[in-house]
């Protein structure tokens, strides 16, 4: 199973870009499945449903959304397997600039809004600096000079990444994203680790746990089906 994890601030255009990309993936004989994680409410499942692919949504509610995504990764892979998908695409709620949801063997895609200003890439943190691909949106709203400076600032934060300009509204550039997803040869394993640790606070991820498997987690934990429990003392 190929795993693609998409992160980015709210409103950056993650869902729009995914919809355009998935259309192209489907046309190229790839079998994608999508899991959308949101915090409190989502209607993105309806947007994805128009693509007739397997879609699963999860709401993190009281749990940290990035932790929720990681904690339920096994279940998401099972869901994709059961639906005979070959590529699992997980779109995170992506709120915190301190976490990065990417695991070692996923293709990590960061979506960033170029109207957020040239200082933003430096402040965005690990979900940009650990990404394999950085997708820049809304480039049509700024000048060519500002686009070029924005690109340079991304490379300062993440010199190894591939930068793609994509227009979420008309899909321009989505073909490049699809091409990179198809070309990725990484496969998800049972022993996934996060590329970057989460902040230190009060849950297991917060104290530095990077192992993904459920047995390593304590605190207030919420499952994909909404069942929530406290594990620990």
């Amino acid at each position: 199973m190929k795993l693609v994890i998409i992160a980015g601030t709210p409103g950056a255009g993650k869902t729009s870009i995914l919809i355009n990309t998935i259309k192209l993936l489907k046309g190229a004989n790839t079998k994608p499945a999508v899991v959308k994680v949101d915090c409190l409410a989502t209607d993105d499942d309806k947007r994805f449903a128009t693509l007739s692919i397997p879609v699963l949504t999860g709401l993190s509610r009281d749990m940290c959304p990035d932790h929720f995504s990681i904690y339920n990764l096994d279940e998401m892979v099972k869901f994709a397997d059961k639906n005979n998908a070959d590529t699992l695409i997980m779109e995170t709620a992506g709120l915190c600039h301190r976490c990065a949801p990417y695991t070692d063997n996923c293709l990590g895609i960061c979506v960033i809004d170029s109207t957020s200003g040239p200082n933003n890439p430096g402040k965005t943190g690990p979900f940009l600096s650990c990404a394999d691909i950085v997708v820049v949106t809304k480039g049509d709203m700024i000048s060519q000079a500002e686009r070029e400076i924005f690109r340079e600032k991304i490379l300062e934060a993440n010199p190894e990444c591939t930068i793609l300009d994509v227009n979420g509204l008309n899909g321009q550039g989505a073909a490049e994203v699809a091409k990179h997803i198809m070309a990725s040869d990484k496969k998800v394993t049972d022993e996934e680790r996060l590329r970057h640790n989460a902040p230190f606070a009060v849950c297991t991820l917060c104290v530095g746990e990077q192992r993904v498997s459920k047995k390593y987690h304590r605190g207030l934990l919420r499952n994909m089906n909404g069942f929530q429990e406290y594990i620990g003392e």
Binding site: G117, S143, Q144, E146, E148, E152, N167, G171, A174, A175
Partner: protein, 274 residues
């Protein structure tokens, strides 16, 4: 940098999903092409397809070739290798920094000399009214100042063999001077315009309708004559504009250069009819 001999626009689809009339169009080095059509007819999208060197991956499914070949991904994305300079319709900057820092950063991105910063600001100030200062924040510049700075930036820092210009007549800057700055020797230029003076200064015009390229027409010999006359009228209009901007009254003598033999009220009627 690779030598550009020509670019090829391979037609895609219009807004109704139908094939465009123009299937294939070559533009050679040194040519100036106009792009005309009603608002919403897809002129800016055509410019954007060329700027992005689209490979059937935009909403129009157009493909752009350079010297008859598909451009590399590096050529499409890396600013140091970019062959396209674009002046978009944007009238404001969103970047929160001062003019000098912005120009320095952009020069660095394009791998250009950083010594020209004062020259760029000087050039921009020739196109606009109240001067831009190096320490001004980009976001406080007026529409005209922003546009003037964008023109000077495109002319010097983004200096490229292909130049795309979207409605230079907007924002009240000196369009002839701006166009001269951007044109340079032997460049391949595309101009989106609603302005007859600008449109007639091009050699060919791409006609846009409903998102598609419907026709390409050569400017006629008659148009070349008219173009000269129009330029004179335009110069007068610009002169009148400056007089009004400076808070003065307009007098009959101000119209004398174009219509020396007519009485004043007739001159104005003739001008309006144009």
């Amino acid at each position: 940098m690779e030598q550009i001999k020509n670019i090829t626009i391979i037609g895609g689809i219009d807004k109704s999903g139908k094939q465009e009339n123009i299937k294939c169009f070559d533009i050679a080095q040194g040519e100036i092409i106009g792009i005309v059509g009603p608002t919403g007819s897809g002129k800016s999208q055509l410019i954007s397809d060329i700027e992005q060197l689209s490979q059937k991956d935009s909403s129009t499914h157009r493909q752009i070739l350079i010297n008859g070949e598909i451009p590399s991904s590096e050529l499409r994305n890396n600013p140091r290798q970019k062959m396209v300079a674009q002046l978009s319709q944007n009238m404001n900057f969103l970047a929160d920094m001062n003019v000098r820092d912005f120009l320095l950063l952009h020069a660095q991105c394009r791998g250009k000399s950083m010594k020209n910063i004062d020259k760029i600001i000087y050039m921009a100030n020739q196109l606009t009214g109240e001067p831009i200062k190096p320490n001004d924040n980009l976001t406080i510049l007026s529409g005209g100042q922003t546009r003037a700075l964008m023109v000077a930036d495109v002319a010097v820092i983004s200096e490229s063999p292909i130049v795309l210009i979207d409605e230079i007549e907007n924002a009240g800057i000196k369009k002839h001077e701006a166009l001269e700055l951007l044109s340079g020797y032997n460049k391949l230029i595309l101009i989106v315009t609603h302005d007859p003076v600008m449109a007639l200064s091009t050699q060919k015009r791409i006609i846009m309708k409903n998102g598609g390229m419907t026709d390409i027409i050569d400017s006629s010999p008659e148009e070349k004559t008219i173009s000269t006359q129009l330029s004179q009228i335009d110069q007068t209009m610009l002169k009148l504009r400056e007089i009004i901007r400076n808070g003065q009254h307009i007098e009959g003598k101000d119209l004398n250069q174009i219509f020396p033999e007519l009485p004043v009220n007739k001159k104005i009627t003739t001008l309006v009819n144009y």
